[in-house]
Symmetry: C2
Subunit: 322 residues, 2 copies
Amino acid sequence: MTSATSLFSPVEADLCVLTENLKNLIGARHPILYAAAEHLFGAKGKRVRPAIVFLVARATMPDQGITERHRRLAEITEMIHTASLVHDDVVDESDVRRGIPTVHSIFGSRVAVLAGDFLFAQSSWYLANLDNLQVVKLLSEVIKDFAEGEIQQGLNCFSTVTIEAYLSKSYYKTASLMANSAKAASVLSEVSDAQTQHMYHYGRHLGLAFQIVDDILDFTGSTEGLGKPAGSDLKSGNLTAPVLYALEEKPYLEALIEREFAKEDDLEQALALVKDSRGIERSRELAATHARMAVEHLSELPISEPRQALVKLADYVLSRLY
Amino acid sequence: MTSATSLFSPVEADLCVLTENLKNLIGARHPILYAAAEHLFGAKGKRVRPAIVFLVARATMPDQGITERHRRLAEITEMIHTASLVHDDVVDESDVRRGIPTVHSIFGSRVAVLAGDFLFAQSSWYLANLDNLQVVKLLSEVIKDFAEGEIQQGLNCFSTVTIEAYLSKSYYKTASLMANSAKAASVLSEVSDAQTQHMYHYGRHLGLAFQIVDDILDFTGSTEGLGKPAGSDLKSGNLTAPVLYALEEKPYLEALIEREFAKEDDLEQALALVKDSRGIERSRELAATHARMAVEHLSELPISEPRQALVKLADYVLSRLY
């Protein structure tokens, strides 16, 4: 199995510079933000989003080095992602993420709101100063999509939705950032519009595969591996692919969901019904389909090491399931 | 005494359209956001910030009507302002603002974070779609300044600062939005760079006067008039102009502040010392100076009703003290 680290070797140096820049940028302002920044931009994050930006940047201009604006874009991408995580943890009242305590649980919601706002504010300022209106639009779309996703998730709590609605929520939550930042990286490389569209769709399908895999792991993973209790999504009423497919085979699931797992063992029963159905298998197929579609959008890139890493990234996303 | 309402009569119709647009924009997405939007964009707000945008828009192009982009800018201005209030209330754990309960206290910090993020996200998207990179930069500067102001306020809690540092914090908190949005309105009117700079400085000085007056009222106002208990700023360690001036005359104030009003009657004593000093009088003079400087920056605008309203607005800001 490929690890994320070896996968990102063509941009490892870029990611190192990025981490240092982000820590300095955020931490220099305030002792508490410094602690939060150490926490947020420490070793734990996989930095998948900035890695995509760097890989697309290098793959779309294989003969030149990447530009300072590409670096800035990668930083913006990670800032937006991190800001949304910090605020998500306040909204969801989560105490743990990736196995470590959240900013919200360590420093309180006061600092978490402040740190998230500071990150959003910095990112929108850096964004404006990239001096490229198309890139500003692409990334402000992402910020809007995050808010939209949060609202849809709130609205659809414990209500069964179609797979299409689930994919649309997953786009807002995860794929929008990958799609629009991959496209933005290629816009900064000044490639053709057709090529920037391919980068958008690469990011979009990769992001959907990524989210579907995450949602499967919520059913199949261990508490240690996930860094949170298994079944958390289902418990909180966030109905994802495995349970939506399982509902087609197990009508009793609907009753359990409707009463919001009010009775003892309801949640355990629901988890067992999902595992006993083809829900997880069909979700895997859905993720694999999106990973395959992502790779198809790379076909017009010139052969290069970064392009190869983008291909492998799609495999890696699926490999997390095994 | 002029009321804010009669002051804004040249743009009253504009403000009506704005309020409806904002309610629809925010409320249509979610029942809870709808309640929050009714609450936020209801009758209580004085809508000073969008009024400035409309007045500058009309004063800089007195012969044409204002454009749809001016309207959008005014909406963005109010969205950013409102988002910052909603998050401020979470950060400060305030239960009351302008005499009515905060979103945070009614709906909880979950909805308050979400509503604020949604407003910031919408505003950054509308901003990008104004298709004017200069305006994007001006307003993203504001968002960054808000975050900076919050952080400075947190850092300088209970520490005595210079009047210059106080004014810098007041710029971040209040004047930046008025300055940059007044300038942005004139940029959309396509007037000369010199004129857009005048509009920036008008907004900047007006905003500083506005904040100084607010800070004086925290000492002189009644709980009913303020919609919060008098002396709230001092109590929370936010040292403003009256107390900073008073410190020059009353050294004992410093001891009270240093021990963070730990002993009984400390706060009452401190309030009495401020009232017994020239702190409030000197703060009034400072506010009047900034109001006067604001008006000086209007001298090159053609004579018109909206220009006259901008002049009167500076008087109105001071008249709140009497």
